[in-house]
């Protein structure tokens, strides 16, 4: 009922506004000829457009000033540094184009507003030289941007160096499961038909000798060594997810049935990042960037970048997934502790 009343009142208000606006238009038509009114409107609108442009420039500055601290999380990988410099180049190029075209747009709008109907406009249908210039210049600029982009793209997508650490990142609704290959540096084979949520969360083949020392972390926490390249082997158990690492400027889909990879070299430890950002709660986060269902927004992982010593100490404490004594108590216990920090999907 109250909705009905609200709608009725809104309708009435709009009707009144419309009638006032309509009356003002008729009143204006009594005051002068159509021509004079159009001239006056032209002046007002041209001025308002220029005002819009100037206050827009101020607003852009204000927006940038307010948000520049949050603009880009500090890049924490080598690839991220190359990314940031390319981003800067692109933003300068597009910024210049944005500024020039908008100055022209609003300046022309103001300067050439019609104030004299009898004056005719400049008849100009085309000019081959001009058109040639503004076809080739953008083409050249684009070629430069493509060249920079492809160089970086080749670097990012190149094969990981031989000394890279390797981990497996598997997405499922709605959390990340991490697998470390253990001492042998080889993952045991896995098959989705062997998955069992209680005893074998990734469907790892228990009979494969390489599986014996594999470590599985169900809390989505990835440990890695600063300065050492790391390669992610990415997969999914159910729907498409995406490993998004904003601090490292990387992203890769996790697709069921397909294995994808990416690698990078972290350059700043988590501890140092806490100092740099003056945020004691700082943590590298892994976000799911491909819509995967109702818990999508809570599908969070974390990355711990640490020194080799810290990493070794951490690794020593881990038990293998199929370790005889601890099936699968150890990793689960670990995950329950950590999962209080991470947002939990309301499943």
């Amino acid at each position: 009922m109250s909705i009905f009343i609200t709608v009725a009142i809104t309708f009435l208000v709009l009707m009144i506004v419309y009638q006032i606006a309509q009356a003002s238009e008729y009143a204006a038509s009594l005051r002068g000829t159509e021509r004079e009114r159009q001239k006056k409107t032209n002046k007002t609108m041209a001025t308002l457009l220029v005002l819009f442009f100037l206050s827009g420039l101020y607003a852009i500055w204000l927006c940038h000033d307010t948000l520049k601290g949050q603009l880009m999380l500090t890049s924490a990988s080598k690839e991220g540094e190359a990314y940031d410099s390319m981003f800067l180049v692109t933003i300068i190029v597009t910024g210049i184009v944005f500024f020039i075209t908008h100055v022209l747009l609003f300046w022309f709008a103001f300067k050439y507003k019609s104030t004299d109907d009898t004056k005719s406009s400049y008849f100009l249908a085309h000019n081959n030289k001009l058109e040639l210039i503004w076809t080739t210049v953008p083409a050249i600029v684009m070629a430069v941007l493509v060249a920079i982009g492809l160089r970086n793209w080749m670097n990012i997508t190149s094969a990981a160096p031989a000394n890279a650490a390797v981990i497996e990142v598997i997405g499922k609704q709605f959390n990340w499961i991490i697998r470390y290959p253990g001492k042998d540096n080889v993952f045991g084979k896995r098959n989705f038909r062997d998955i069992n949520d209680a005893t074998n969360i990734l469907g790892i083949n228990e009979k494969d000798p390489a599986s014996a020392d594999d470590i599985v972390a169900q809390n989505g926490e990835i440990h890695m060594v600063v300065g050492k390249p790391i390669k992610f082997i990415i997969g999914s158990r159910d729907v498409i997810h995406d490993v998004g690492l904003p601090h490292f400027r990387l992203k890769m889909d996790a697709v069921p049935g397909i294995t994808t990879t990416m690698w990078f070299t972290p350059t700043i430890t988590s501890a140092k990042m806490k100092e740099m950002t003056k945020n004691p709660n700082f943590v590298y986060e892994l976000s799911c960037d491909q819509m995967c269902g109702k818990g999508h927004y809570s599908m969070r992982g974390t990355l711990i970048v640490e020194t080799q010593e810290e990493y070794d100490a951490w690794l020593a404490k881990q038990t293998a997934y199929f370790a005889p004594a601890a099936v699968p108590a150890s990793p689960v216990a670990d995950s329950t502790k950590k999962s209080t920090e991470a947002p939990v999907a309301k499943n």
Binding site: Y83, M86, F98, F123, E131, K251, G257, I258, T261
Partner: protein
């Protein structure tokens, strides 16, 4: 068929007498149903598309208000939402499942129902016969079917909002396996079936319309209306139709395979999936295949949305600058360039799906190539208003706004088209900001410009001007306030399609910005109601049009009676003697020469 034959046929078919000089009345009385509902008059069908589009736009925009409330104020409750959404917003708090359903429906409705059907359905129907000098479409009956298929598609989509498991909720792109498996999300059940049915009918509607538009433009131009004398609106609508005809069937095939995967146990998109506590039997499919099929339409779709706006902006800028469009041929060639390239860039939506990096680099190259024809268009628009005699009608304001938004949104495309930059920006708010500005708001600006400009032709009345200007400034300022700051969130890596950011250390600092954006969204939403009201009230109350050619335009639609009947021209269809942009002294004190004016002795055709 010769022009005379068409004229003759139209006379016979519509019983219009050349000696009837009063109105476009047809002599046999038409029943209300055949005149307004199952009408075969292209002008009525255009209005049907437009009004249906407006209703969908209100629904779609209201959805965005609801989910912006959640995004802006995740810790508050809004009892009013419960009134609208019932169980889905218990206690005034949006359910996550329904949040995703709203996001999905918002996208589907705005992209397909409003900016495809509502935009090209309206203006292709209205303008093609009027501007090329035809009495109606090549097949008026097919044209009517096109609307009614769209209508049924809409009804099914609307019904899906009210079923127990809710509408489709896998995003407007509906990627499988999420959309293929009922276990994956609630919206992937009946809601998804209805979504697919509705979209399949929509494709049918779109193809019926598109084939009609193309054949009408190619075959039914009046005498003297060569292709190179056509207004740019017609060129743009022509390429829009071509894009749709060639790409919608691919989407359709993608949907058919998805329907098979969902209901008949096939594995086109499914492989090695463990869900709902059990492993599925499907192996060997590829989830990425769907994305290729989807984006093969999905990218041309962007241009299906953009091109009509470009055409109308060209026409309106030229008319209101009292100056020919600059570089008419360059404009056509750039349309051709965009149309061809539109088919060759789809995989730039998929840089991070794990596809071959080499393939990725080819798509980078082709994608950034599109910047060239787009830049040419922008420069040509700027030169068109340069040294003109600008009249700031509401349509002109929106056309200028269109140029501004097209520049702003187009430039951010240069970031996203470059895979090395996209790898960080993909699926963040940067993308949201980019496509909302360039194909959302700017296409809307093209549409608004078109509505304000051709309203007198549609209804024989003007829309109220003061309200139109208020509407313009609210929308223009609001659009930038909403989407400009979103770029910053995206550069910081904030993912899109999140229900709540407050648990994320990296993104929760944008809380107050999100609240600000949500407030602007609400204001802009109410600003659009001003337009809606102005539109409907002016049908009955608007100032009457008293002259045949209120904007001083050269094109043919302004040679018809103020309220044209079915058949458009009372007498013979006028013959065309010159191109559509002769805005110059005619020697009688006018600053334009209509297309129907014969060339003066010694004057050369453009």
């Amino acid at each position: 068929m010769s022009n005379e034959a068409i004229v003759h046929e139209a006379h016979a078919a519509h019983a219009i007498h050349a000696d009837d000089h009063h109105h476009g009345h047809e002599h046999h009385e038409q029943h209300f149903i055949t005149k307004y509902i199952f009408s075969q008059d292209h002008k009525v069908i255009a209005k049907q598309f437009l009004i249906t589009g407006i209703i969908w736009a209100i629904i779609g925009a209201l959805m965005s208000v609801f989910f912006r409330l959640q995004l802006g104020f995740p810790d508050k409750t809004f009892p009013i939402m419960e009134k609208f959404l019932g169980e889905w917003a218990k206690g005034g708090k949006l359910d996550p499942e329904f949040y995703y359903a709203l996001v999905t429906m918002h996208g589907t409705i705005l992209v397909f129902f409003v900016l495809t059907a509502g935009l090209s359905g309206t203006f292709a129907n209205l303008l093609i016969p009027l501007q090329i000098g035809a009495r109606d479409m090549a097949s008026p009956f097919m044209n009517m079917l096109s609307y009614w298929f769209f209508f049924i598609a809409g009804v099914i989509m609307f019904v899906s909002l009210f079923i127990q498991t809710g509408p489709a909720s896998g995003g407007w792109t509906t990627y499988p396996p999420l959309s293929a498996l009922k276990e994956a999300s609630m919206g992937s059940g009946l809601g998804m079936d209805l979504w697919l049915t509705s979209m399949a009918l929509f494709v049918v509607s779109s193809l019926l319309g598109g084939l009609n538009y193309v054949s009408t433009i190619l075959n039914m131009r009046t005498k003297g209306m060569t292709m190179t004398r056509m207004p740019l609106t017609i060129w743009a609508l022509f390429f829009t139709a071509v894009l749709g005809i060639l790409s919608f069937p691919v989407l359709f095939s993608g949907f058919v395979l998805l329907i098979f995967d969902r209901s008949f146990g096939t594995s086109f998109y499914l492989s090695e999936i463990f869900i709902g506590g059990k492993a599925l039997p499907n192996v060997g499919g590829s989830a990425i295949l769907y994305q290729h099929l989807f984006w093969f339409l999905g990218h041309p779709e962007v241009y299906i949305i953009m091109l009509p706006g470009m055409g109308m902006a060209s026409e309106i800028l030229s008319t209101n600058s009292r100056k020919p469009i600059f570089g008419y041929f360059a404009m056509i060639i750039s349309l051709v360039g965009i149309t061809v390239l539109a088919f060759l860039v789809w995989a730039h939506h998929m840089f991070v799906t794990g596809m071959s990096p080499f393939l990725g680099s080819i798509f980078v190259l082709l994608t950034l190539l599109i910047a060239v024809p787009s830049a040419v268009k922008v420069f040509n628009w700027l030169t068109t208003i340069w040294r003109g005699n600008l009249r700031f009608t509401p349509a002109m304001m929106f056309a200028l706004g269109f140029v501004s938004l097209f520049i702003s949104g187009g430039l951010t495309g240069i970031f996203l088209g470059n895979s090395a930059l996209d790898i960080h920006l993909h699926d963040t708010y940067f993308v949201v900001a980019h496509f909302h500005i360039v194909m959302g708001v700017s296409a809307f600006f093209g549409m608004f410009a078109g509505i304000y400009h051709w309203y007198p032709k549609m209804f024989g009345r003007f829309m109220n001007k003061p309200l139109a200007y208020i509407h313009f400034f609210i929308t223009f300022i609001g659009a930038y306030l909403i989407f400009w700051p979103m770029h910053y969130e995206g550069i910081a890596g904030m993912p899109r399609r999140y229900y709540d950011y407050s648990a994320w250390e990296s993104f929760k600092n944008f809380g107050s910005l999100n609240a600000f954006i949500s407030i602007v969204v609400i204001i802009v939403f109410f600003g659009q109601l001003i337009f809606v009201f102005n539109f409907f009230a002016s049908i009955w109350k608007g100032r009457k049009v008293t002259t045949q050619n209120p904007w001083g335009s050269t094109t043919l639609e302004w040679t018809t009676p103020i309220n044209p009947g079915h058949g458009n021209w009372e007498g013979d269809i006028p013959e065309v003697h010159r191109w559509a942009y002769d805005y110059r002294e005619d020697g009688n004190g006018n600053d334009f020469i209509p297309q129907t004016t014969p060339l003066r002795p010694g004057e050369e055709s453009h």
